[in-house]
């Protein structure tokens, strides 16, 4: 339940992680690596940051599983739709 009283220190630590990961992403973007490697690394960092916000700030970690299903469902739908578009002959990549 969201009535779990996470201590303020937990929220501060999550903030430190979010800020640190964000700065790491910015630093990574300046490295002389291929665009695809940089994109993969930075989007992975963004996914980790989003997960931290959802799990701790939105309390999904301690909430009921049904809310996780509600949150994940649209992502699955969009992922399927995107795969459908990318595999379509209408789109030239």
């Amino acid at each position: 339940m969201s009535d779990s009283h996470a201590p303020a220190s937990t929220y501060l630590w999550i903030w430190c992680w979010l800020a640190g990961l964000m700065l790491l992403g910015v630093a990574f973007s300046a490295l002389p690596l291929s665009k695809s490697t940089i994109a993969l690394a930075i989007l992975t960092l963004s996914t980790v940051k989003a997960a931290l916000v959802v799990l701790y700030y939105m309390h999904l970690k301690s909430d009921r599983r049904v809310l996780a299903l509600v949150a994940v469902f649209p992502l699955v739908v969009i992922a399927l739709a995107t795969l459908l578009v990318l595999s379509s002959r209408l789109v030239t990549l």
């Binding site: 996470a6 964000m22 789109v91 990549l93």
Partner: protein, 203 residues
């Protein structure tokens, strides 16, 4: 149709609140379903951006007209505002009214700072005649950041309303769900920016 029963729920203090058959308070379930629709909206826009980008062999890009420093600052501002928002929720649960008002005020101010920086960015681009019609990148940029800014504005207005309740001593621990629901929306807006920033500024 989801059955609704009435029984005590810790999130509502000692009072009684409608709880759906899933065991989740109805307001909270409703907010998450609303956020799911918002996820569909933004993920659809982002997916369109990715498909457009992959299908353009010569992607124009920002060509040096986007400031990574300003984008980084704005990301930090939103991350800070998410922290102050969740702290506000923690304060209302413990009935610390002064801290609640302070954290809500900080959240609103940080949201305004974000919009102020975004407005400055828009102004600089417009003075350089960079418009949505300039090329496909700027069409995507204005669409994605414009819709996001509207959502930030919506969050600020919501938080102002919540602050007005706090100032009138209407937010007791039993009414803490009001802060929680406003916070869920605010954190969602933060998450959207967490993805928009690297997609538009870094990659």
């Amino acid at each position: 149709m989801t059955a609704v029963v009435m029984h005590a729920h810790p999130a509502f203090g000692t009072g009684h609140a409608p709880v759906s058959a899933t065991g989740v308070p109805s307001h909270k379930l409703g907010m998450w379903v609303f956020l799911a629709s918002e996820v569909m909206f933004f993920t659809g826009l982002i997916a369109a951006y990715v498909v457009l980008r992959l299908s353009h062999p010569a992607w124009p890009g920002p060509e040096g007209h986007l400031s990574v420093a300003l984008g980084t600052t704005n990301t930090l501002v939103l991350i800070c505002s998410s922290m102050t928002m969740v702290m506000a929720f923690a304060q209302v649960q413990q009935d610390r009214q002064r801290s609640l008002r302070a954290f809500l005020t900080w959240t609103i101010l940080l949201g305004c700072v974000f919009l102020g920086i975004k407005a400055c960015e828009y102004r600089v681009k417009l003075t350089h005649h960079i418009l949505p019609s300039t090329n496909v990148f700027w069409s995507c940029y204005y669409t994605l950041t414009g819709f996001h800014a509207v959502h930030v504005l919506g969050g600020i207005i919501t938080n102002l309303w919540v602050l007005s309740l706090a100032l009138r001593h209407r937010l007791t621990p039993a009414k803490g769900y009001v802060v929680e629901l406003a916070g869920l929306y605010w954190h969602f807006v933060d998450i959207v920016w967490i993805f928009l920033f690297p997609l538009l500024y870094l990659i």
